[in-house]
Structure formats: C-alpha cells, structure tokens
C-alpha cells in the first residue's frame, strides 16, 4: 500500500526539514530544537475499527465535558458517591477559582487529545485523556501535505480520509465560541516552547493571529490585541498554548512572564473564550482517569464504549493490597507527572527499588496509580535499510464545538529505543502519519 511512499522517504524528510517540523527538548537545563523524526510507514486503521473509535471517543469526551461542568458547579458526582472528594480537591489540576464559572457555550474541552494503544488481540485501550493543551495535530497534517506531494500515486491508489482540514475544524471550534465577533488568536509562549512549530503552523493554516503575551492586554475586563501604533482590537477567543498556572500572573503563578495579567477576570466575566477552559487539568489527572468509564454511565446513562487499561488505585484498601503484592509486574505512574515522566515498570526494578516504591505508595496512596502492562502491538518502522518493530501509541483529537467531531487521523508516536515503552515526544520518540481507511 505504501511501498511507493517509502521509496520517497528521503524527499519527504528533506521537505520536513525545510518546513521546520521540529520539536524542542530541554535536557540538563539547555534547550535544543531537533527534527521530529518521521517514519514513512503509516499507521493504518480499518474503517470498522474507526467507526467504533469515533463513537467511543465522542461519548468519552462528552462525558468529560459534563464532568468538568458538574465539578465546577453542583458536584453531583461527588455527592452521589461516585468519586471520593479527595480526588477532586487534592488534584493539582482542580482550580477552586473556576467554581461557578461557566465557559462560553458551556464547552470546557474544545480540543481533547486521547492517547490510545491497541493490544495484540485488536482491542483499543485509552491510556490518557489530555484536556489541557494536547499538542501534535500539526505533525500528521504537514506529513500528509508532504507525502501527498512526494508520492501522489499512493494517495490515488488508496482510499484514505483526508486529514489536512484539521485547521478548518479548529477554526470552526474557535468561531463557535468567539465572543462578539472579536479577533481570534493563538497565544504562544514563544519559540522556546517545544511545540512552537505547531503554534505557528496552526495559526497560519487556520487563518488566525499568532500572539505573544506582550500583544494582549486586559482593560475593563476585556481582552485587546495591541497592534502597532497602540491600536487596540477586541479579542473574542484565545486558543492558548500556555498552561493554566502561567496564564494569569495576578491569579496564578505571579512570577510568570508568559501570561496576560487579569485575563482570568475577563474570562470570568464572560468577555472572552479560552480554549481549552481554565481548570481542565482535573480531568487529565491520572487518578481521575480511573473514574472516566463510571462518568460515562453517570452522565450519559450509557455503557462506556472505550476501555481503560486495567487500573488500580492504591487509595482503595483492596487495590492497595493488590498493587503491593503485584508491583513487580505492574506499571506505576505518579499522578502529578506528565510527558512520560514519573512512569515506572515493576519488571525493571530490583528488590530494593521495589521496596522503596512500596513505602512511597503506603505513605501517599493518592499519589499513585498502577496499571497492568498491556502487550500492545508493535508497528514497523524503517531504520537505515531495515524494517524493525517498535512500541507505539496513537493520540486522537476530538473537537467540541456545536458538534463533537473526531478528526479522522491522529498522531502516531513510536519509541526509537527498542526496549522502551515510552513514546512521548519529550522523551525523544518519533512520529508517523495515521491513515483511516474509507472502506
């Protein structure tokens, strides 16, 4: 299916380089931007698999949006005993400042990045929900752009859903919540951010402004874009690529230079839409993840279509005993960490390390989750002139506006280290295009 494309891989890589498809990494305190390695063999998802993912992911994201609304308002899911209050109030993603605030059109997670893996028996599992600032959609977008040019025959011969319209889906999502037809901006922390390529590429393709913190001011609870000659234009929607804690130095981290002072007040007054909403970090919490299938049942009265990886919460006494007895074969995650940090595999730890971890789990049970290691399928990648197998995952993007839609593609990440299970770009992994077949 893709042999012709693989033959063109040097051309593809040359173009990737030219377009600056990079990913920045901080290592030992210094910033290094490097090419985001691209593998020409696509991940191919059958039409029937996709139909199930499409339905399951829309269901999951709808439930997560309802959950965020509920938590920042009535908290029925806590009152009804489905989620213990500790999991809300002691989560670093929960922001009490958001209590009682309803975002424009009641959308919390406009852009959700759901990380999936496929087990060898074909079952898809959700590994993580990313409802803060999931990055990565631009990479398969530009990869498709380039591969179509490098090998047009490949795309004539195969019936694949196009994915280059992600920017119009994004634009529609922004238009839907735009307040009073204001300016639409993507707010970037700047070129030292790991995903700066993505910020600029999406702004260009969606036809919105790329703004830096300095460009925006808040006056009279309104956000303005300060252009040349002090002309002020009202901003109606901000797709921010800066996390909550740095977004308003007067409400959150006061030393932040990346944020816009008093942006939170403008948001609370309903004068600007923020994509994604403030306070979404709660839904990303690895402890909350455990409860997502229960949320689907609670809010939608339906059985969850998407499966979680089998997960144990040491917070519950029974789970704790199981985890302590089976630590050597489980994967342990620190709920406070992201980007592939704080993930430990019991099988790689010696007896002393395991004991140490057991003590930590006993001391702070709420801080950890444990999961069964899923034997997920390997994907082929080209290394030199050889084809080798590597672990991979898939981040699928779900956009919530007037409708909830799943972008028929996704970011497939793979590990370059043959012994590693961790595919995060911040850990040096590579990426592939994701093809969804029309038939």
């Amino acid at each position: 299916m893709y042999d012709l494309l693989v033959k063109q891989r040097d051309t593809v890589n040359k173009w990737m380089d030219r377009f600056g498809v990079r990913f920045g990494i901080y290592k030992n305190g210094t910033f290094k931007e490097q090419l985001f390695p691209f593998d020409p063999i696509p991940r191919i998802i059958s039409n029937s698999d996709w139909a199930e993912l499409d339905e399951g992911l829309r269901q999951r994201v709808k439930a997560l949006n309802l959950f965020l609304y509920d938590i920042y308002h009535d908290k029925n899911i806590v009152k009804d005993g489905v989620i213990p209050p500790e999991f809300i109030y002691s989560s670093s993603g929960y922001l009490p400042q958001c209590e009682g605030i309803t975002p424009i059109k009641n959308v919390y997670s406009h852009i959700s990045g759901i990380d999936l893996v496929q087990a060898k028996d074909g079952t898809w599992y959700v590994l993580e929900d990313n409802l803060r600032i999931p990055s990565g959609a631009s990479y398969p977008m530009i990869a498709r752009n380039i591969t179509r040019k490098a090998s047009p025959e490949t795309f004539q011969n195969n019936k694949i859903f196009d994915n280059r319209h992600y920017s119009s889906l994004l634009r529609k999502t922004m238009d839907y919540v735009n307040v009073d037809n204001g300016l639409e901006v993507i707010l970037t922390p700047g070129r030292y951010n790991s995903a700066y390529f993505e910020h600029s590429y999406l702004a260009e393709k969606a036809g919105v402004l790329l703004a830096y913190a300095d460009d925006l001011i808040v006056e009279n609870n309104m956000v303005y874009y300060k252009g040349l000659f002090d002309k002020k234009d009202k901003v109606g929607v901000i797709y921010r690529r800066i996390s909550d804690e740095y977004l308003d130095p007067l409400v959150f981290e006061s030393t932040s230079l990346l944020g816009v002072p008093n942006l939170f007040q403008a948001y609370a007054a309903g004068n600007v839409a923020i994509i994604n909403a403030f306070g979404n970090g709660l839904a990303d919490d690895k402890g909350i993840y455990y409860f997502v299938p229960k949320m689907v049942e609670y809010y939608l009265g339906e059985k969850a279509i998407m499966k979680n990886a089998p997960t144990y919460l040491p917070y519950f006494e029974q789970d704790k005993r199981f985890v302590l007895d089976n630590l050597h074969r489980l994967v342990i995650k620190d709920v406070a960490e992201a980007g592939g940090y704080g993930v430990m595999f019991g099988k790689d730890m010696d007896a002393a390390k395991l004991e140490e971890l057991k003590e930590l789990i006993k001391k702070e049970p709420r801080r950890w989750i444990a999961q069964e290691v899923i034997d997920f399928i390997d994907l082929e990648i080209i290394e030199g002139d050889e084809t080798v197998s590597r672990k991979s995952d898939l981040r699928v993007f779900v956009l919530s506006g007037e409708d909830t839609v799943v972008w028929p593609s996704g970011l497939t990440r793979y590990t370059r280290n043959p012994d590693s299970f961790i595919v995060n770009s911040s850990q040096g992994g590579g990426f592939k295009d994701t093809w969804v077949l029309k038939k």
Partner: protein, 257 residues
C-alpha cells in the same frame, strides 16, 4: 458594640517610569456578622479603568490597567466598622480541608504532627489552642528571615518567621487533624503593618485564632481577605512593563472611635 476606624495606605515608588501596569488589589473589608461596614472608601492613583468584583473565596477585588507612564502608584482604603464577636456562621467549603500550595506538609510538619498528642477527646477549639501552643514552642518571631514565598514546611524548619508563617504552619497542622482551616489577611488595633491569622471551623462556624500572639480571637480583628493560604489573599499584586526597582511603603492604623 465597638466601632473601629481603619486606614490602610500604600505607595509604590518606581525608580524609572513604567507603563502597561495591571493590578489586582484586595483592599476592602468583609461585611459579615463579625464586622459590619459603617463606611468604606478606597482610592487608587493613577487608576486606569477599575473593575470591582468578587473572587471565589468571597474577597472583594479591584482590578485595573494603567496605560500611561507613571513613577508612583498609590492605593488606600479607609472606613469605619462595627465589630462583633469573632464567629462567622457559614456552610463549609471543602477546599479548606485539603492541602494547599503553602501549607503542604512534608517531613518536618509530619513529624511535629506526630508529636501532637491529643490524648483526650478534644473539640476543635481545644485542638486549635494545643496546636498554637506547640507552634509557639517551636518557632520564634523574626522578620526578614522568611518571605512571601516561604512555605509552612520551610518556616518550621527554620524555626523563625512572621505572622504569615505562623498562620501557614497552623493551617497545615489543623488540616492534618481534620480541622478545616483557612488563612486570613487583615488589620489589628494599633499602628503598623497588615496582619495574618487563622480561622478554624467548628459547630457550623468559623472561629479566629491568632497563632502569632497565641490567642483565640475575641473581637476587633478586621478581615480583608481569606483563602486557602497566602496565595489567595495577597493585598496587592501587579505587573508592569519597564525596567525599574520598586519601593513599597505601607501604613496601617486602627483605632477605637
């Protein structure tokens, strides 16, 4: 009931002209059953466009943006309050039961908590006193050693601190013992600076405790801001554009009328 007149005056002097100055101020007193507002005024200069609102903790906030160049920024608040016994009936917000940024316990606080020996069945009033006594046996008041970013754990390890640190340590120990507790910034009688103390929850109401002076608060404490810890209660926060040093002068005066 006693009437108190309060004056809070602050002035920031910048070494160079600055502009694009955004601020968020918590200057206005609470009106509640422990303090009734008779009159209250504020003054901000230069002011820009001011917006008055309330944050999620119930604090009145004033926000604004000053576009023009300026060398100084002045803000003040004054008025008269009628004060009543320090008991505030309110439904409990669960956030005050859980750890917060400045009150997160680590080894030292956990160790001190172990040493607290609540042998008898104590109510929260007695426990609060017990905790405050313990804190006063472990740290001494000293200015300039800790800063606005110091956590309870750090201050306790230093064995020194100011009212903010006493309050953080007490809140942390209260929450470790399932006593809901919150941070309060405000003014007390006399002349000097702003003060910080603790409220703990018992019997459907918040009660005041001043760990710095090691006393249960009876009356005459003026509450300006409340929250999980100092992070929610700063009286003034600001961001400006320009390269300048700044010098803050504050006068607080509270007297019987």
């Amino acid at each position: 009931m006693p009437k108190l007149r309060y004056i809070y005056k602050a002035k920031i002097t910048f070494s160079e002209r600055i502009r694009s100055h955004s601020y968020l101020l918590r200057l206005l007193p609470f009106g509640n059953e422990a303090q009734r507002i008779v009159e209250s005024h504020y003054h901000i200069f230069p002011r820009g466009v001011i917006n008055k609102s309330e944050d999620v903790f119930g604090n009145k906030i004033l926000t604004g943006y000053i576009d023009e160049f300026h060398n100084t920024f002045e803000f003040s608040s004054q008025g008269v309050l009628e004060t009543y016994p320090y008991i505030i009936h309110e439904e409990l917000n669960p956030i005050y039961r859980f750890v917060s940024r400045f009150t997160k316990p680590s080894d030292k606080l956990l160790q001190v908590n172990q040493e607290l020996d609540f042998t008898r069945d104590l109510d929260n009033h007695e426990k609060a006193k017990f905790i405050s006594d313990k804190i006063n046996s472990l740290i001494t008041y000293e200015g300039g050693v800790t800063g606005i970013g110091t956590s309870a754990e750090e201050a306790l390890s230093l064995g020194k601190g100011v009212c903010q640190d006493y309050a953080h340590i007490m809140i942390s120990l209260c929450r470790l013992n399932d006593i809901p507790a919150r941070y309060v910034a405000g003014f007390i009688e006399g002349e000097g600076f702003s003060h910080a103390w603790v409220e703990y929850y018992e019997d459907g109401a918040w009660h005041g405790y001043d760990p710095t002076h090691n006393v249960k608060i009876a009356i005459n404490y003026i509450k300006i801001a409340q929250g999980r810890d100092y992070g929610d209660c700063a009286i003034d926060k600001g961001v400006f554009r320009g390269v300048a040093f700044q010098n803050l002068e504050v006068i607080v005066k509270v007297e019987h009328r």
